[in-house]
């Protein structure tokens, strides 16, 4: 197999890995205002006629911290897949990287700023015990998760369907070229799929009332997502697809339907595997439709960027292959280990009371009060 083909496949895998992994933490971030609300205790009448608590009350803050605790150990590792995909594109297909990053300058700028803000928000929201402080960072988490979730869908629809590219491999459209209806639909598809993926991830990774709420939301959003995704995949593959890409897209749709079926039967593990596969297969179908182009030109087919005319030299690709053969398994191993180490379901009672400094000074005051000699 040609080295350029190998690297096209490897970069596809990196993007697939990025979307199936970061997809759910985008979803968790977007669900912050919905699932992170105060919830009253659910009462039911017991056998002896007395009211018993079926599900205890939970504050919105506890629920938000449960949500953060599910993605806390993994979200930054998930983001590594994006950096690697970008870096591999830069090194293996420099012309692809140049055309893409110049042409999509503003959307990629917005994505980057959103990701910077989101990272700061995760890290800083618990550092000061103040409602307004937390509320502000919660807003950043919401926007910082929703903006990339939307814009990645817009960007990938444009990459696969083609954009105006001139004879010098330069993008010759504008920002509004990128905001065409199909691309916006693609953005809505990624938003709704990531919401579903995130909700089912929460259903799998939490316990208590939030687990049931997450599954219910996952089902509802998933139905909308399934309709949008089927329409979008049909438009994309009718335009640029081939037999193989149609098959993969069909499998993606099947996986999504199966996932929702499993979710409705409260089989959370299978439901999550379903959205995981559906997103992975949908992204795969895009790359299958794309090959051997990497950025088709709508101006003139001959101006399209392909794995051949956009690639680095064989010498560079050879070195990169060695590096990838050694390091990709290592990365896979330690990321898998992280998921294994944090496999426990998170519940409200796992969340320590108080936050950061406030909790600490309170604790010190108590210890010094209990033992004046200390």
């Amino acid at each position: 197999m040609e080295l350029t083909t190998i690297w096209f496949i490897l970069i596809s895998i990196l993007w697939i890995g990025y979307f199936v992994l970061e997809g759910f933490d985008f979803g968790v971030g977007m669900l912050f205002p919905v699932l992170g609300r105060d919830r009253e205790a659910v009462m039911s009448v017991g056998l002896d006629g007395e009211e018993v608590e079926a599900a205890p009350a939970q504050t919105g803050e506890t629920r938000k911290r449960v949500m953060l605790a599910t993605i806390g150990p993994v979200w930054d590792g998930n983001e590594v897949w994006l950096i690697t995909a970008g870096g591999a594109t830069f090194a293996a297909f420099p012309h692809w990287y140049a055309t893409l990053f110049s042409g999509f300058y503003i959307p990629l700028l917005l994505i980057l700023v959103a990701l910077i803000g989101r990272a700061l928000a995760f890290d800083y929201r618990g550092k000061v015990d103040s409602d307004s402080w937390r509320a502000r960072w919660d807003g950043v988490i919401l926007v910082g998760s929703a903006v990339p979730a939307l814009l990645w869908g817009v960007a990938f629809t444009n990459i696969v369907r083609g954009v105006p590219i001139d004879a010098d491999m330069e993008f010759s459209g504008t920002l509004f070229t990128l905001l065409n209806p199909v691309a916006v639909l693609g953005g809505l598809v990624t938003v709704s799929l990531f919401l579903t993926h995130g909700a089912l991830f929460l259903a799998l990774k939490t316990d208590g009332p939030i687990r049931h709420d997450a599954r219910a939301i996952g089902l509802k959003v998933g139905l909308v997502g399934a309709v949008l995704a089927v329409v979008w995949l049909a438009i994309v593959h009718a335009g640029t697809g081939n037999t193989q890409s149609w098959i993969v897209a069909g499998l993606a749709a099947l996986a999504l339907v199966a996932s929702l079926l499993m979710a409705s039967k409260a089989k959370e593990g299978w439901a999550f595997i379903g959205t995981f596969s559906a997103i992975g297969l949908a992204v795969t179908s895009l790359f299958v439709a794309l090959f051997p182009d990497v950025m088709p030109s709508t101006t003139e087919a001959a101006y399209s960027l392909t794995v051949i005319n956009a690639s680095a030299t064989d010498y560079t690709l050879g070195i990169m292959t060695w590096v990838a053969v050694i390091f990709v398994p290592i990365v896979l191993l330690y990321q898998a280990w992280t998921y294994w180490a944090f496999r426990q379901r998170v519940s409200g009672h796992h969340i320590p009371t108080g936050v950061a400094l406030a909790a600490r000074t309170e604790k010190q005051r108590q210890t010094s009060g209990a033992d004046p000699a200390h």
Binding site: Y105, S172, H350
Partner: protein, 344 residues
């Protein structure tokens, strides 16, 4: 360390391109020798220089907070020995980092004189070549016109520039004007290397070079004084120790920044020295508006992040270290449903 190595490999290629050919067929530079790129002589001295400077920054951080708590009246006397220990450790790291930064920086200067003589001349604003046998002086402090072109009053160390550049006190140091003429002859024929002027912005390089060295040396000086003052269990009383803490926090940070400003502006007008000028490296598909917009947004985002970060650092430094009950961290003593020790 590993990511620093590869980032600096890329930067060193821009300072001194090696291991590539210009392929006339594809019209681009292509890698031919990966090992040569990884062992670029500029890289081999830049990497330890940057790592040592990073240690200075980290050491300065620990020293600053530790020393401040030793000085501070409100800090519990029980806690002071720990802060003294931290401050001493920080001071040692700043000193070792400072020494390593100085030695590697000196080696860098000699390699720079070979591969980028213009940058060395720009570091001293040396316009005219000082021939072999004379010895070029190094001005430690110059009071002159703001553009650095006219000198009114200066403290100079005789022959020091020759030593910094060549390792001998009377070695030849080429001046900016001669180098500019040399570069015109060598580079102005090719489209990608042609420039009207091959001089960097001299006042920027001149002052950034001095601030880099000055702040780095000052940080090491404060660390040495602190190490002396913190011997035994002597208290720190004088108010100056407060300012020493504050300054040693920031000095390595700014010294690092000035170092990067020096080495990047000193390379101008090149983006890759001798291969591609910065004006030729501009993306044709990106508009001025887009670049200005992104520059503005990044500046605002990083400024806001800096304010938040400094605010939180002060808040946590003031709260001091946490008393830890080690047993509560031991997984053996923890039930599955116990609250987490750490979570967001």
């Amino acid at each position: 360390m590993l990511s620093a190595y590869f980032i600096l490999t890329a930067n060193s290629f821009m300072q001194n391109p090696v291991g590539y050919i210009n392929n006339p067929e594809t019209g681009r530079a292509e890698l031919t020798d990966f090992w040569a790129v990884l062992t670029n002589p500029v890289q081999l001295v830049t990497f330890p220089h940057v790592i040592a400077a990073a240690w200075m920054t980290g050491g300065g951080f620990v020293l600053a907070i530790g020393m401040w708590h030793v000085w501070r009246v409100k800090t519990a006397s029980d806690d002071k020995p720990m802060y003294r220990k931290a401050a001493r450790l920080g001071a040692v790291i700043v000193l070792v980092g400072g020494l390593t930064t100085a030695v590697t920086g000196d080696t860098q200067g000699k390699i720079m004189t070979e591969v980028q003589p213009m940058k060395m001349a720009a570091a001293e604003a040396l316009y005219e070549t000082v021939p072999e046998g004379v010895g070029a002086p190094f001005s430690i402090l110059t009071v002159g016109t703001p553009d650095g072109k006219e000198e009114k009053w200066a403290i100079t160390a005789p022959k020091l520039l020759s030593f910094l550049a060549t390792g001998t006190f009377d070695g030849e140091v080429k001046g900016i004007n001669d180098l500019n003429e040399e570069y015109q002859l060598a580079y102005s024929d090719e489209a990608l290397t042609a420039a009207a002027d091959y001089r960097p912005v001299i006042p920027v390089t001149y002052w950034a070079f001095r601030w880099m060295i000055g702040l780095g040396m000052a940080a090491a000086g404060v660390a040495a004084l602190a190490l002396w003052a913190l011997r035994g269990d002597r208290p720190l009383k004088h108010r100056l120790w407060f300012y020493a803490s504050l300054s040693v926090f920031f000095m390595p940070l700014f010294a690092n920044s000035f170092g990067w400003i020096f080495t990047e502006t000193g390379r101008q007008p090149w983006v890759v020295f001798g291969v591609l000028t910065t004006s030729n490296a501009v993306s044709p598909g990106v508009s001025l508006f887009e670049v200005a917009l992104s520059m503005t947004i990044y500046t605002l985002v990083y400024a806001a992040a800096a304010v938040v970060m400094i605010g939180l650092t002060l808040r946590y430094a003031k709260a001091g270290a946490e008393h830890v009950d080690e047993e509560s961290f031991d997984p053996k003593h923890r039930a599955d449903d116990a609250p987490y020790v750490f979570t967001y």
